[in-house]
């Protein structure tokens, strides 16, 4: 019977490799402003891993964020990054992409920023199928300003502006994005780090408006007001109550208060992007039209 369950470990401390995520970050700005147990940093890890796997030229990747806790992501990633106004990263990203289609444009913002004040821009960019990836960190609250209700806050959760409990039906963001024409819609929680990174990777490689929703805790406000424990407790709830339902009809994947969370990839389809549609129309109507560059890599 062999006793060699372990071989000899060298006595001297080995050379430590660098943390693979650091080249993606503005290390001179660490530590982050995010609370202990906030999941936004975990989403950033997923984004870093996805960028690495996609082997994109990082000089050509631009990240645009709005205002809020998730909005601070733009300041921490070491890419051309734009921290714009509340609700408006999507139209800024639209201008950035259309003026230089070679850029890979990623919008990272929160549920309130993207679907309350930014709702109009969200639905039109999806409708137009502008070639960009939108990562929505959904923590069901406006964290930065102290935990107000958002369009995704599930009743009867307490928020600072719904002190008696929310009573509005929330958005089902997967359904919204699907209905507006997004070509890729997926949802994971920050407990599903590998799947989240994979979904972001797929979304980045998808041509058109791709939407990844990342359910994340807000321990300081949403969780505390609703007595849901710390960030790690939220992750345990996500792990316990998430059900993988790839391809489920998006109208059925709404999230209620501490309910089951349907995760997975719900939409993955093909549709002409804005520039493709424009080129198609103009090549028929504009004499001597030179097609506008799409920035797409050739389809396999």
């Amino acid at each position: 019977m062999s006793e060699a369950a372990t071989a000899t470990v060298p006595a001297a401390a080995p050379v430590r490799p660098a943390n693979k995520v650091e080249p993606f970050l503005r290390m001179d700005r660490m530590p982050t402003v995010w609370c202990p147990g906030c999941g936004i940093g975990t989403v950033v890890n997923g984004l870093a891993q996805a960028l690495e796997r996609c082997k994109l030229d990082l000089d050509k990747v631009a990240i645009v964020s709005g205002i809020g806790c998730t909005g601070r992501v733009a300041g921490y990633v070491r890419l051309d990054s734009f921290h714009t106004t509340h609700g408006r990263p999507i139209p800024f990203a639209t201008g950035l992409k259309l003026a230089n289609p070679e850029l890979k444009v990623i919008v990272v913002s929160g549920d309130g920023d993207l679907t309350a004040i930014g709702g109009n821009h969200f639905i039109h960019a999806a409708r137009r199928n502008i070639d960009m990836t939108v990562i929505c960190v959904n923590n069901h609250t406006y964290g930065m300003t102290g935990g107000q209700v958002t369009p995704t806050t599930p009743p009867p959760a307490i928020a600072s502006t719904t002190p008696y409990g929310a009573y509005e039906d929330p958005f089902n963001l997967q359904f919204l994005a699907d209905a507006c024409g997004a070509v890729y819609c997926a949802r994971w929680t920050v407990a599903h780090v590998r799947q989240l990174a994979k979904a972001i990777e797929e979304a980045l490689q998808k041509r058109g408006f791709s939407f990844v929703e990342a359910i994340s805790p807000c321990p300081t406000l949403y969780a505390r007001r609703n007595r849901l424990g710390e960030g790690v407790d939220a992750l345990k709830y996500y792990e316990e109550k998430s059900v993988v339902k790839h391809g489920a009809p998006t109208r059925e994947v709404g999230i209620g208060f501490q309910s089951e969370i349907a995760v997975g990839k719900f939409v993955d389809r093909e549709r002409a992007t804005l520039i493709e549609a424009m080129n198609e129309r103009y090549s028929k109507a504009v004499r001597g039209y030179v097609p506008y560059p799409t920035g797409h890599k050739p389809r396999k």
Partner: protein, 96 residues
């Protein structure tokens, strides 16, 4: 004679292959905010929070069962503060 299994000598256990890959972690102590995501989601459950605390007053993770660490870096993927990461190291090698 149905219960005669006790008479059959137990087969010799299969020789265990020597373990070649180990994991190590590194914690950037003063960046950690003590959220315990890493401890909770470590698959071999080899992490625990320290008794002492860092400059900001947070307890930080440490290997409580270092031999069990596989270097999978799931702790690194979970960490919202980029304060911990793991790597695989082959036995007998100084560098990974």
């Amino acid at each position: 004679m149905a219960n005669d299994t006790a008479q059959v000598p137990a087969p010799a256990p299969a020789a265990k292959k020597p373990r070649k890959v180990f994991g190590l972690i590194y914690v950037e102590r003063d960046r950690c905010k003590g959220c315990t995501f890493c401890v909770e989601f470590c698959p071999p459950k080899c992490l625990g929070m320290s008794e002492d605390f860092n400059a900001k007053g947070y307890h930080v993770p440490m290997l409580t069962a270092p031999d069990d660490c596989t270097g999978c870096n799931l702790c690194g993927l979970y960490c919202p503060d980029f304060a911990i990461y793991g790597w695989m190291r082959k036995a007998g090698k100084e560098t990974p």
